[in-house]
Amino acid sequence: MIKKVNLDLVYIPSQDVVAREIEGVVIIVPIVSGIADIEDELFTLNETGKAIWQQLDGKKKLGEIIKSMAKKFSATPGEIREDVLGLTSELLRRRIIVKTPGGQD
C-alpha cells in the first residue's frame, strides 16, 4: 500500500528508529516492533536515499526539500520530485518517518 505524502507537510524520522551512518552507509535500525518489516535484515539507503534522508530534518516542508535539492543536484526537477516522493512514501509506509506534530493532511 502506497502511503501518500503531502508536499506541504514536514516529515521527520520516527523516534522508533535509529538511523546509523556507518562507513558512509545509512542503516535504519528499528527500536520497536512493527517498523519497516525488518526481522533478520538490515534496511539500508542507497546514495539517493541517503541524500533525501539527510534533508528530513523536521524543519523543511517536502516541497521545499524538492526545490532545494533541484538547485544542488544535476537531475531534472521532475526526477528529483519523483525520487523524493517515491522514497518518502516508502519511508512513511514503513513508519520510518512521521509527520511532525501538528501536521495535517
Binding site: I22, V29, I31, L42, T44
Partner: protein, 406 residues
C-alpha cells in the same frame, strides 16, 4: 539521480553492505557477569550468583553504557550479552533498552531460567533483532539437573522456554548435554526441530573448556572427565556421516595450510572482541592471559583495536614442541589448538595440546587425509592430499571443474 530504488534490505550476515572499508568494530561480546544461578559441571566461567566480591567488581551501568556507546560510534551493529547468566543483573532491562536505543542489535545467551513475563513483554515491544540463544543441559529433569546441579532448574528452564514460545520471541537452542551421547543428541535435535526459529542446527558443545581463570583445579579435573576419548567423540560428531564428511572436506579444502610460528590463525581481535565482566577487552571470548587483555577502565576500544590487538596478533610461538608439531601441521586450522585454548590447558599460549591433537588426527583419518599411524606434521604431500579431497567434475564442454566452496 535516476534510480528508483532507494533502499535495500539485506541479510544480517552480509557485511558487504559496506562496499570497501568495513567499520573498525563489527561485533562485541559482553559478559555482563560471571555469576550464574546454575552451577553447571562443565562450565568454564560460572561463579555463584551470590558471590558478593564478583558482584562488587562488575562494571557499573554507567561503565557498560559508556562501552556500548563507544562500540556504536565505531560502527558496531551487534552486541551479544552473555556471562555467566546475563539476566542475573538487576539492571539487565536498562542495559538492554540502552543498547537497543542507540541502534544496536542484541543477542542474548541465557539458560532461560530467569525469563519472566515482564521480559518477554519487553522483547515483544522492543525486539532484540537477533535470536536469543538458550543453552540446554538435558531433556528431562534428571539429566538436566545432573549438569546444572541446581534443584528446580529444569522446571525454571521449561517455564522460560514456554514464555518465549507463547510470546513468539525468536530463540534458538544449543545443546550442552553431558555425558555426551548420540541418543541424547537425537532427542535434543528432535525437540529443537520443533522450535520455529531453528532454521539451522547449532553445533552442540562437545569439548568443554577448562576454567577460564585457571582456578579450581578440582573443577578442571571434573571437566576433563566429561571429555570423551577422541574416537568416541568422533563417533558422536559424525552421527550424520555423509554431511559430516562433506563439511570436513570442504573446510580442509579451504583452510588447510602450514601456519608456521605465528600463533593467531583466526580472526580474534579483528573487528571484534569480548568485554569481560570487569571491563577487560579480550581478543576473543576465551583468551584471558593477563598480557593479552586490555583494560577499558584505562583506555578505549579504538586504541585496543588499532594498537594493542595487532601487537598481540603478531606474537610467535617459542615452545619447542609447538614449533616441531603445530607450526608444521597442515591441519592446524581444523584443530581446537589456539592461544586461548592453549592457555586454559597449559597456562601458556603456545602449548601443544595432546587431546585436541589426537581428535584432529582422528578426524583427518576419518575423511581420508591421513593414514593410520601418520603424524600430520610429518606429511610432505599434504597439498596433493587436500586437493584430492573433493570430486572433480567436467562441464558440458568437457572442461574440468573443481567442486568446492559452499
Amino acid at each position: 539521480m535516476k534510480t528508483k530504488s532507494y533502499s535495500t534490505k539485506c541479510p544480517v550476515q552480509q557485511v558487504t553492505i559496506w562496499n570497501g572499508k568495513k567499520p573498525s568494530l563489527l561485533h562485541l561480546d559482553m559478559e555482563l557477569t560471571e555469576r550464574c544461578n546454575n552451577n553447571c559441571v562443565h562450565c568454564y566461567i560460572n561463579l555463584p550468583a551470590a558471590d558478593l566480591d564478583a558482584r562488587r567488581n562488575e562494571l557499573s551501568i554507567f561503565e557498560i553504557k559508556k562501552i556500548l556507546h563507544e562500540a556504536s560510534s565505531l560502527g558496531c551493529l551487534d552486541v551479544c550479552f552473555t556471562g555467566g547468566e546475563p539476566l542475573l543483573r538487576d539492571d539487565f532491562e536498562e542495559i538492554y533498552f540502552f543498547a537497543r536505543r542507540i541502534g544496536l542489535r542484541v543477542m542474548i545467551v541465557t539458560n532461560s531460567t530467569l525469563i519472566t513475563p515482564s521480559l518477554t513483554r519487553l522483547f515483544n515491544r522492543i525486539p532484540p533483532l537477533r535470536k536469543i540463544e538458550v543453552s540446554v543441559y538435558g531433556m528431562d529433569r534428571e539429566s538436566y539437573e545432573s549438569v546444572s546441579r541446581v534443584s528446580g532448574s529444569f522446571d525454571a528452564f521449561q517455564a522460560g522456554i514456554n514464555l518465549l514460545l507463547e510470546h513468539h520471541v525468536p530463540f534458538v537452542a544449543r545443546a550442552a548435554l553431558f555425558p555426551i551421547g548420540k541418543e541424547k543428541l537425537r532427542e535434543f535435535e528432535a525437540w529443537a526441530s520443533r522450535i520455529p526459529w531453528m532454521d539451522t542446527p547449532y553445533a552442540p558443545i562437545t569439548s568443554p573448556y577448562l576454567r577460564c581463570r585457571g582456578e579450581q583445579d578440582a573443577r578442571n579435573a571434573d571437566i576433563k572427565k566429561m571429555r570423551l576419548p577422541p574416537q568416541q567423540l568422533l563417533a558422536v560428531e559424525s552421527r550424520r556421516t555423509a554431511e559430516y564428511i562433506r563439511g570436513l572436506r570442504l573446510f580442509c579444502a579451504n583452510f588447510c595450510r602450514i601456519p608456521g610460528s605465528m600463533l593467531f590463525n583466526c580472526g580474534a581481535g579483528m573487528g571484534k572482541g569480548n568485554v569481560d565482566a570487569y571491563g577487560n577487552l579480550q581478543l576473543c571470548l576465551i583468551l584471558r592471559h593477563p598480557d593479552t587483555v586490555y583494560s577499558l577502565k584505562d583506555g578505549t576500544i579504538a586504541d585496543a583495536l588499532v594498537n594493542f590487538f595487532p601487537r598481540i596478533r603478531e606474537l610467535q610461538a617459542s615452545d619447542p614442541l609447538y614449533l616441531e608439531r603445530c607450526a608444521q601441521c597442515f591441519l592446524r586450522s581444523l584443530c581446537e589448538q589456539c592461544p586461548a585454548v592453549s592457555w586454559l590447558e597449559t597456562r601458556k599460549i603456545d602449548g601443544w595440546l595432546e587431546y585436541f591433537c589426537e581428535f584432529t588426527h582422528a578426524q583427518a583419518r576419518f575423511i581420508g587425509l591421513l593414514n593410520e599411524g601418520e603424524l600430520s606434521w610429518q606429511v610432505i604431500d599434504w597439498k596433493e592430499r587436500v586437493k584430492n579431497l573433493l570430486p572433480v567434475l567436467s562441464d558440458e564442454n568437457g572442461r574440468m571443474l573443481e567442486v568446492g566452496g559452499k
